[in-house]
């Protein structure tokens, strides 16, 4: 028991929770935005990989860290546009297109990375984001260190939760976005083109995914290597169901998840005799449990995975 208290009482554990949670928050918000307008985006795993690669490469070539984040966002939006064009105007299978985007984006990332960095027995590194203390607030004992001594992108992710929730529930744009995912015919009758709105939302959501990936190479680690996203994208897809398509709950889900991840990492070193693979399985198994718990309760956007064609029912 004392081991447990030691882990939970340490500032590092809670600080790590926010750090591990940041790419999940960004990715989950991205999936949430896509699904709120009615389109599943299984491209996330590949888009995160591309964001991680292109963000890192940008910084490695001499740009500053925020430019790297921006480029990762733009790269994500580009793949989002591809996904959107195939699934929205053409109405192709969202499952298969998304998987295709993931396979394409990740293999494309590895290809570009290998071209840029031909040999890598020791992967080259960049100087990553440093924690930026927020004056005064970071001096609060415990809470200050956990909440106000994080890196820039973590603050950005937290702000984006509030922004997305505000846009979705408090603005005309948000109403239109939600309608696109619930009843695109009614939206069209209002004079708003659901096709364009969906394309835009998917691009924005994919930009968030790209930035989530870039956080991995520019803040959590400092180098890029293949398969580094490790299913985080899929976990985000599960978290959106857990969050019942609500931004605030998405934050909660991502943090809960990150809590368990940070906890199992510490438990691995504290508890002996248990194979480390069992700990590593936990995040994936937890996601499945989250899906089981929420599957029937969650309120799915009514038009999710239904392509919209004008004049067709």
């Amino acid at each position: 028991m004392s081991v447990l208290f030691d882990i939970l009482g340490a500032v590092g554990m809670w600080e790590a929770m926010l750090r591990i949670g940041t790419p999940l928050i960004l990715g989950t918000l991205g999936v949430l935005l896509c699904e709120r307008v009615g389109v599943l985006n299984l491209g996330i795993e590949g888009i995160m990989t591309f964001g991680a690669m292109v963000g890192w490469l940008t910084v490695f070539s001499g740009a500053d860290l925020w430019t790297g984040m921006l480029v990762a966002g733009l790269g994500g939006a580009a793949f989002g546009l591809l996904h959107a064009l195939l699934t929205v105007p053409l109405g192709l299978s969202q499952h298969v297109t998304g998987l295709g985007i993931t396979l394409f984006a990740s293999s494309f990332s590895y290809y570009v990375f290998r071209l840029a960095i031909p040999t890598s027995s020791q992967p080259p590194t960049v100087e990553p984001f440093r924690p930026a203390d927020i004056p005064v607030l970071s001096d609060i004992p415990f809470l200050g260190q956990v909440l106000f001594s994080q890196t820039g992108p973590t603050y950005l992710a937290l702000v984006l939760v509030v922004v997305l929730a505000w846009v979705l529930y408090r603005t005309p744009l948000g109403l239109a976005l939600r309608m696109a995912g619930e009843n695109p015919h009614a939206l069209d009758a209002q004079g708003i083109d659901p096709i364009r709105l969906r394309i835009g939302a998917i691009m924005a959501g994919s930009a968030l995914m790209g930035m989530g990936g870039a956080f991995l190479t520019l803040a959590a680690f400092n180098s890029f290597f293949p398969t580094m996203v490790q299913g985080r994208g899929w976990i985000c897809v599960a978290l959106v169901v857990f969050a019942s398509w609500k931004p605030a709950r998405a934050l909660l889900g991502a943090l809960l998840f990150a809590f368990f991840d940070a906890f199992q990492l510490r438990l691995q070193t504290a508890v002996e005799g248990v194979p480390y693979q069992l700990f590593l399985m936990l995040p994936y198994l937890l996601s499945i449990v989250a899906l089981i718990v929420m599957a029937r309760r969650a309120r799915v956007p009514q038009a999710l995975m239904q392509p919209y064609r004008r004049g067709e029912r």
Binding site: L82, V96, L99, F104, Q277, Y284, L285, L291, R296
Partner: protein, 350 residues
């Protein structure tokens, strides 16, 4: 601009769709090769030469196509019934692990050759099945979408393999490398070509493709599975037992992916590692789509992917183009194939 469904999609367009899709993918990949500073035509020439130009190349290509045919079939049968089995990768690994664990039973090594081989293959298939039945049960019981669960289980499966090969099934003679004990000679598949890696698993894969084609085209199960995919409500109304049909589809799909893993161990590797599969499971999805879910088309699509992968390896050595270009081309051909199928079914009206 709008799209209008063709009343009668022409047979010619349906046949030309995959060809056009592959050409389009090769065109885009060619641009990427050109950007890297090589002549795309020369690169493609080298890829073909690498895969067909020598006895060794050809045998390697067919060895590579073997698991791809099986994982492609696994995806094709599942997708046809709208069971989104994205877990081929995990089922492949469990199949590989299953056969190795089964072969550790001392009695297996003493069995006469053919019996041991058949039992081992079945052990692998069953292991793959079990891994797909879990997400199917979650879908039928709790309404959990199987896409995400099968994807997540891929990671769990590989970690489980890692756990076993560093623990109970670790090879004590492997100098500390994490790999499983080898399967006994009784469970090793005979070679098809002397002095190559090509083994009779290829024939098993081809037989499976014919079997799946027969099941889908000539049996009640095939009709039911298709009906369940096209319109579950109508199918249920017509008396199709949806749950039971999906369970059978899952057994077939997971079994095929598990079989792929078992054959890879019994025919090529001899033991299990966590890098046994260069994404065979995920490539299977592309192959199934390229084949338009047709079991016999899967053979052609698997050969195409195998040519790309094996050929790109030798091409990348000659031109110093990253061999990831093969993955890029195959993934791109999935996207272009989706568009090609669409264009074969719809016409564009202004």
């Amino acid at each position: 601009m709008r799209f209008e469904r063709r009343d009668h999609p022409s047979a010619l367009l349906t046949v030309l769709a995959p060809v056009g899709a592959v050409l389009a993918a090769l065109l885009v990949a060619g641009v990427l090769i050109a950007i890297a500073g090589a002549n795309p035509l020369r690169a493609y020439g080298l890829i073909l030469k690498g895969a067909f130009g020598s006895r060794l190349g050809l045998s390697e290509m067919l060895t590579r196509a073997t698991p791809l045919i099986l994982t492609g079939l696994a995806a094709a049968v599942a997708f046809r019934a709208r069971l989104w089995n994205i877990g081929g990768e995990g089922q492949f690994y469990l199949g590989a692990l299953g056969v190795t664990a089964f072969a550790m039973v001392p009695a297996v090594a003493a069995l006469p050759g053919p019996v041991a081989v058949v039992l081992c293959l079945m052990a692998g298939a069953v292991a793959g099945m079990v891994l797909l039945l879990v997400p199917l049960a979650l879908r039928l019981r709790f309404g959990v979408d199987e896409v995400v669960t099968t994807l997540l289980l891929n990671f769990v499966a590989v970690l489980f393999v890692s756990l076993m090969i560093e623990g109970a099934m670790k090879d004590p003679l492997a100098f500390g490398w994490p790999q499983s004990v080898p399967v006994p000679d009784a469970a090793v598949l005979p070679k098809l070509m002397a002095r190559t890696r090509l083994h009779i698993g290829l024939l098993i894969a081809l037989a499976m493709a014919v079997l799946v084609w027969w099941l889908q085209a000539r049996t009640v199960f095939g009709i039911r599975a298709r009906a369940a995919g096209l319109n579950p409500r109508a199918a249920a109304f017509a008396g199709v037992p949806l749950g039971r049909t999906l369970v059978m589809v899952a057994c077939l799909s997971g079994g095929l992916a598990g079989l792929a893993g078992a054959i890879e161990v019994m025919g090529v590797k001899g033991y299990v590692t966590t890098d046994l599969s260069p994404n065979y499971g995920y490539s299977g999805i592309v192959i199934a789509m390229l084949a338009n879910l047709n079991p016999l088309g899967v053979i052609a699509a698997a050969v195409f992917s195998a040519v790309m992968f094996v050929g790109a390896d030798s091409m990348s050595r000659a031109l110093s183009i990253p061999s990831y270009i093969a993955d890029v081309t195959v993934a791109l051909s999935l996207l272009t194939m989706l568009v090609a199928i669409f264009l074969a079914q719809y016409r564009i009206r202004r």
